[in-house]
């Protein structure tokens, strides 16, 4: 089983990101479950969501405390939230972060991947220019980071789940996939 935790803010599509992953894995033949933790469901407030992927049906309905992957949709959360809490040794982290800027102050026992999902989403006209919705772009990046999940499955999942602008969202995921790189800390 692999377990994934998403960190973002209300309005970025954090919960949908976890659903996109679950549906993509399901399309690849895996059993899946994804669920949010809603605190205060307000725009801008920190939101956490989770996903489990396995070959056999998933029965554990407890929360995820030791994920294999962490996805951070808003790098501003790196200061206020312990996004690495419980991450398994050798775990992988994807952060919405400009490639040109150096990641600082993160432990080197994990692998980090960066992607400027905000720019990608904005370039494809997803959300407003001031607050782009970054979830579909970040999931393109996830396919790059995680060998288990293909970009094709992510794109098919987005096409099914995006309420509007399906093709722009799919294109954003594709571009994001290409722009995601491993970063040194």
């Amino acid at each position: 089983m692999i377990e994934v935790r998403f960190h973002g803010r209300g309005g970025q599509g954090v919960v949908i990101a976890s659903e996109v992953l679950a549906l993509a894995a399901f399309k690849m033949g895996f059993e899946v479950s994804s669920f949010p933790f809603f605190g205060v469901e307000r725009r801008g407030a920190p939101v956490t969501a989770f996903a489990r992927i396995d070959k056999k049906p998933i029965r554990n309905r407890s929360s995820i405390y030791e994920p294999d992957y962490v996805v951070v949709l808003d790098s501003g959360l790196l200061k206020g939230v312990d996004v690495l809490e419980g991450l398994k040794p050798g775990g992988k982290v994807l952060i919405n972060y400009p490639q040109a800027k150096k990641l600082e102050g993160l432990p080197d026992k994990y692998s980090y991947f960066v992607l400027d999902a905000t720019s990608v989403a904005a370039a494809h006209g997803i959300g407003s220019r001031s607050t782009p919705i970054v979830n579909t772009a970040i999931m393109g990046g996830f396919a790059k980071m995680c060998d288990l999940i293909s970009l094709d499955a992510i794109m098919a999942s987005i096409r099914e789940l995006a309420p509007v602008k399906e093709e722009a969202n799919v294109a954003a995921a594709k571009e994001a996939y290409e722009r995601t790189v491993e970063a040194k800390v």
């Binding site: 659903e19 549906l23 899946v32 994804s34 669920f35 949010p36 809603f38 554990n60 407890s62 405390y65």
Partner: protein, 395 residues
């Protein structure tokens, strides 16, 4: 079609496949997406039903009662404070023998405010005369709604049912669900055709005043209806299995209970996690099992009586608490299992209130504890699990 959906969508699809004719509902967290999805089905014409937006849950149930009295198959969904606001009219629905089906997204009661799961709202409706089915998965939610209409609309039953899904843990969790073909559902569930309904040109009295020489007979008949619901539920589930290939184990699901020394009894989504724990303990040679309470009303008394004769200890995990007594499930389990010759040790564990996570580790510790008190033949107290400030450490 097998796809991925939330528990709330499973509820909406269940109602759609049951071809409900009237929906009256008021939105409340975390039930809202059930109502939104059904409103969408109605607006696109996928579901030919009358959608009645109302100003409160009390009115939602009142509208369902009126529609059902006129012979329409009706559905509503609510949660927590919405359900408790309905309390008065819930009594009316069952007393008037109206087979309404409702989803309750079980959520804790305030204060303090909480939008997360526990079963206090559902348990507080224990005596309203509604059937209550607790679900473990999104598939079971969809299937149980379809089965519930068939059970409730049986001429010998004619009582309403509550299908209960745990807030967020099921309502907002996406997982694979098989959506059956409409044709198959049609063959399983015929159109609603009540013996009595309000009809123009056929005057009849509904909900009239009855004097003391008649009232008890109405109550007696409702009791018989609930009794009939028990047998009817078992036969309907077998018929469901025959058509759809799925079953859930009757009123009380037994999971690895054969040769078990102690079992955990619980209801709702926690049973799913507990099955993983049972498997891992069994792999270590520890003889444990799980008794999942699917129906709280009618309660599986006979099943618990039989189970009590076989096991040494039963841990009853309640996700609610009845002040001044104990967990409501515990009281029922003890009453059933103590009516036989063999008296197992039965201990009550109060856990997971207001959405507190019940982890596999906690369930494992409950099993350890029930084994210990069973060995010592202790008459145990009610134990509150994972509460700050108490001496025992659960995590």
């Amino acid at each position: 079609m097998r796809t991925v959906m939330t528990g709330n969508y499973a509820s909406a699809y269940g109602a759609k496949l049951a071809k409900v004719e009237v929906i009256a509902a008021y939105p409340i967290t975390p039930q809202t997406s059930i109502v939104e999805k059904l409103a969408e089905f109605v607006s696109t014409g996928e579901l030919r039903a009358k959608f009645i937006p109302v100003e409160s849950e009390h009115s939602a149930m009142a509208a369902c009662i009126a529609a059902e009295t006129a012979g329409a198959r009706t559905y509503t969904a609510t949660s927590s404070h919405g359900l408790t606001l309905m309390h008065e009219v819930l009594m009316w629905a069952s007393g008037a023998r109206l087979p309404i089906v409702m989803t309750n997204v079980s959520r804790a009661m305030a204060p303090p405010w909480s939008v997360w799961v526990d079963h206090m709202d559902s348990i507080a409706q224990r005596d309203t005369g509604w059937l209550q089915f607790f679900c473990e998965s999104n598939q079971e939610i969809l299937d149980t709604i379809i089965m519930a209409y068939k059970v409730c609309e049986s001429s010998g039953v004619m009582l309403p049912a509550m299908v209960i899904e745990d807030a967020f843990i099921l309502s907002h969790t996406s997982e694979p669900v098989s959506v059956p073909d409409q044709e198959l559902v049609n063959s399983f569930l015929p159109a609603y055709a009540p013996e009595y309904k309000i009809e123009v040109g056929k005057p009849m009295g509904f909900g009239s005043l009855v004097k003391p020489d008649q009232y008890m007979e109405f109550r007696y008949k409702a009791m018989l209806g609930m009794k009939e619901a028990r047998d009817r539920f078992l036969s309907v589930e077998q018929e469901f299995k025959h058509i759809f290939g799925r079953e859930y184990g009757g009123l009380l699901e037994h999971y690895r209970c054969d040769d078990a020394e102690v079992v955990l009894a619980c209801a709702g989504s926690v049973a799913s996690t507990a099955k993983d724990v049972v498997d891992s303990l069994r792999a270590r040679g520890i003889r444990v099992g799980l008794a999942r309470i699917r129906a709280f009303r009618p309660f599986p008394h006979q099943e618990f009586r039989a189970l009590g004769a076989k096991v040494d200890g039963i841990a009853v995990l309640d996700r609610s608490y009845t002040f001044g007594a104990a967990g409501a499930m515990f009281t029922e389990v003890k009453a059933s299992a103590y009516s036989g010759q063999n008296r197992p040790i039965i201990k009550n564990y109060i856990a997971g209130l207001g959405g507190r996570d019940i982890t596999p580790k906690i369930i494992e510790k409950v099993f350890e504890d029930i084994q210990l008190v069973t060995k010592r033949r202790e008459e145990p107290d009610v134990e509150w699990v994972d509460v700050a400030g108490l001496p025992r450490r659960w995590r």
